[in-house]
Symmetry: C2
């Protein structure tokens, strides 16, 4: 292949879209198509909006301008606010101590100017992003170092004061906010990069670094973070690790259990566990850090993370395709695993109903219409000509075989972000549709969509919308049900039906969101009793007074 033919192929390919291939059978430049159909309404929006967590969520404090001081307030919360978790769910407060004025004095002395007690400032930290649960914490602490976290926990443990470790507060199962008056320990000021080795690709940073900031930092050094998710603009890496976040790149770079190489964790008694190794391999004793990955702040507070980062791919392509059936979605997946192989980096699916919500509530337009299912396939590789050739072969094959009926390709960064926002902003669109009942399930891929169909049939008109989308490449379905308002009877129609359905196929009732507050009582649908008992033993061993993120993850020991 000569250089000129390579360039020519690339130019043709980059602009290639697939508008109704069967209907006109020829290639048309993307630019022409987009201007002709005027469907790229996103282009008028600020790029930041297209791939960030929605701007309507409670703002995250940064710097020190919003710090509050003073005696503990007892101002009552406005009745218009989210219902208190304790009231909605009828939870009983455990016998922890209440924060006293002498406690306040201790913390003010320890981290002067970084103790927040003003009710207005505290409000966003007491409510989750979904506005579905609300605690009534009267104190938020903003340590800067593991040593400060250590002093805080040592004191709280001695005083039997419950704490709620909080990162970006983007969790979806009520794990990141207090249930009652737990002291919130925010990681927001622990936001320093400690080191980066550009030979090994190992990043060491504090837990409060925002995922998107880390990714930007790395991109300048020709690397990327091994995980990516819709909440990247707000979520903290410590929170990602504490919840074992999955997201969009898991298919390619694997889970955090493999990419996190080390952690620094402060235990309930204040001792600092320094397992912040920067080594790809280390078989010296038990891998303690794994206990804290995914334990949702119930076993310790993660203060720093060492993580293996891949090279920034030289070539990234994103394909948006339409399919006429879910079996075609599956067939396309099997085909693309074979034909795209090592360059496949994401395989996401969305049903037509969730695409309609994105369109209606966020005014985003999809480039392909008229299909009951849509797919996003991302490739990332080191040689753009090779990647494009693989992708072209794949697209020709799936179009010719009838697996796919329609599609478009994006290679430019801006267009890639626009296409991704159609997938990433579904969560946001759902919140505009009313009260959302969220389920995040792992299932055998071949059964994945049956649950959406069965749920839709079961609920009939009692639900406003029943939609399915998710990380098909990882067997991960996000099933979401919306209604005008919260209703116990609708909830009872959904649960335990969804959990029983999932357990029947040996699925997981929480693929990536964790159990938090909302799902902890359903753990037995995915874990045997022996496992739950052992988890409770682990919890009792590491946090005998139970001060760390109480009411979360595990049901109370019987």
């Amino acid at each position: 292949m000569t250089v000129s033919s390579l360039v020519q192929l690339r130019l043709v390919w980059c602009c290639w879209t697939l508008p109704r291939w069967q209907m006109n059978g020829h290639k048309r430049p993307l630019a022409m198509w987009t201007s002709a159909t005027a469907q790229w309404t996103l282009k008028q929006k600020k790029p930041a909006e297209l791939y960030r967590i929605p701007v309507s969520r409670p703002p995250i404090l940064s710097g020190t301008s919003l710090l509050g001081k003073g005696a503990l307030s007892t101002t009552s919360i406005s009745p218009k606010e989210v219902m208190l978790t304790s009231e909605r769910y009828g939870v009983q407060r455990l016998p922890f101590s209440h924060v006293s004025d002498s406690d306040l004095a201790f913390f003010e002395h320890l981290i002067p100017g970084r103790v927040i007690t003003d009710p207005d400032e505290l409000r966003p930290f007491n409510v989750d992003w979904l506005q579905s649960v609300r605690g009534c914490s009267k104190m938020l602490l903003r340590p800067r170092t593991a040593a400060e976290v250590s002093e805080i926990l040592r004191y709280c443990n001695k005083r039997k004061l419950a704490v709620n470790p909080q990162g970006g507060n983007t969790g979806l199962v009520g794990g990141s906010v207090p249930v009652f008056d737990e002291i919130i320990i925010s990681t927001a000021l622990m936001n320093q990069v400690i080191s980066f080795n550009n030979v090994s690709g190992i990043l060491v940073c504090q837990a409060g670094c925002i995922l998107e900031n880390l990714n930007q930092y790395l991109e300048e050094l020709d690397f990327i973070m091994p995980l990516d998710l819709g909440a990247k603009g707000s979520c903290h890496i410590g929170g990602n690790v504490a919840t074992n976040a999955g997201g969009l790149r898991l298919l390619r770079y694997g889970s955090l259990r493999g990419t996190v190489l080390g952690l620094e964790v402060v235990l309930a008694d204040g001792s600092i566990l320094n397992c912040l190794a920067s080594l790809r391999k280390d078989n010296t004793g038990y891998d303690l850090k794994q206990l804290f990955i995914g334990s949702e702040g119930t076993l310790g507070v993660i203060t720093a993370v060492s993580i293996l980062c891949p090279r920034k791919p030289k070539s990234v392509n994103l394909v948006f395709l339409g399919c006429q059936s879910f079996s075609q979605v599956l067939g396309t997946f099997t085909t693309c695993k074979g034909m795209l192989g090592e360059i496949l980096s994401a395989y996401e699916f969305m049903d037509d109903k969730c695409m309609k919500l994105v369109e209606n509530h966020l005014k985003l337009s999809k480039p392909v219409t008229g299909s009951p299912f849509y797919i996003l396939i991302e490739t990332s590789g080191s040689n753009s000509a090779h990647d494009e050739e693989k992708l072209t072969n794949f697209l020709e094959h799936v179009m010719a075989s009838g697996l796919v009926t329609d599609g478009t390709v994006a290679t430019e960064d801006k267009k890639i972000k626009m296409l991704w926002s159609l997938r990433e902003r579904i969560t946001e669109a759902l919140t505009h549709d009313g009260c959302v009942y969220k389920y995040d399930l792992s299932l055998p891929v071949e059964r994945l969509y049956d649950l959406v169909i069965d749920t839709r049939a079961r609920l009939g008109k009692t639900a406003k919308n029943v939609v399915g989308y998710g990380h098909l490449g990882d067997g991960n379905l996000h099933l979401n049900i919306t209604a005008e308002s919260y209703s116990h009877s609708l909830l009872n129609a959904i649960e335990p039906f969804v959990y029983e359905w999932t357990a029947q196929y040996n699925g997981s009732i929480s693929a990536e969101h964790g159990l938090g507050f909302k799902k902890k009582h359903y753990i037995q649908y995915s874990k045997p009793q022996e496992a739950v008992l052992l988890m409770q033993q682990v919890k009792a061993m590491l946090d005998p007074k139970g001060i760390l993120n109480p009411y979360k993850t595990l049901p109370a020991s019987s």
Copy 2:
């Protein structure tokens, strides 16, 4: 590019070797080169010898032909055998019960015909593959199911009988054989594949399946195991998981902490922990299986494994290169990460001294000579033309820039195996060189070889050979020192020097071999005291009587 040009490129490339590029600057077919130089002496050998664990190791029982019965024997062991561990290391037996005739009767009733007590049959199971440690177990049990393992452990726990779980007995740190008279629980008869899903690539199998057998089974289904190591012909997947084996594919497919999706484990009290999920994502509670990965049989006996297997690559290439300095080895690594990207699947290095041992003791010839360092680079991809083009570009670049002085490429399966055997059989060659002092270290790559140089300088003529090789792509050095015979003074010159050197650079004193019996007292060089204490708490929680693989992994609690 037309089809004909593609084929032409492929043909030229497949036969390409790089004999002294600087000297003659032209491409010569591999076949011509190999016959002309007659260096491929391996070709006359049986292929099986080229990539299996050496035939001289103790045979692994299979079937039931070697089963022994009868009363417990007290026959003394021949004085010519390996020195007893208890004598060489002066270990005190812990107060476990001794196996009685009534215990024998119980096990004979539980698993009739699968209790071995004959001293001759027991001998190979009491000695490690390196012939460096020896226990004096008088009983080996061969359960077939987790239920049988459960009954065995329930009984042993009640009777306070210590046990030694044993897979293929290929461990290198004395973890896989008894120290005293622990009952050996062999996984050899738990060798059934339970299921394989060819959409998800998830394999579920019993712990006693031999790694190579699993790989062969998968290859027929167009998949491979995500790990590969020299001992593949003997080692069991359960043992691989229990020791968190690394090996040759870790660079590409990541560690077992990411690829193992589920485990079935029998705990010390006999309870069966079924966490045998076949899901890529599962965030329901703490990830208990991680406790057992790498815990070397001290926390439970792994009886079944669920593991994510990648597609069999359509194209595999192996390159053997010579470098004039270690900094060129590093430069070649950085270059190949960038230029080979997603198809890079292994990057191994060997110094000239270990290549000489392979040549002298095993009569294997390397295809390239005259360099102080050699590299093996493997690529695995889905498109052979693309892979070959990437590899050609890379090789031209490293030759032109002087990073590499010599090399050869293999694309045929048989030749690939021959080249791999040069690397995989180093361990075997070392055992023929005398008494071997083995060190398996994780270090920052840029420091990796300095330790070999410093050790060589320190030991001078007191050592026969000091060699370095390993998984450079993972920062993993295998430092090996040979001497005519075991000597305390030589050991004292090596230790703690090697551990202190490693700790100085925040390395790990065991990258992939584990701690077993031989390294447990050195854990503090890589783990802080808080971590060791917590590990001891975990051990006490899961195995309060300490019956599981005692004297291993952790130093005794103080």
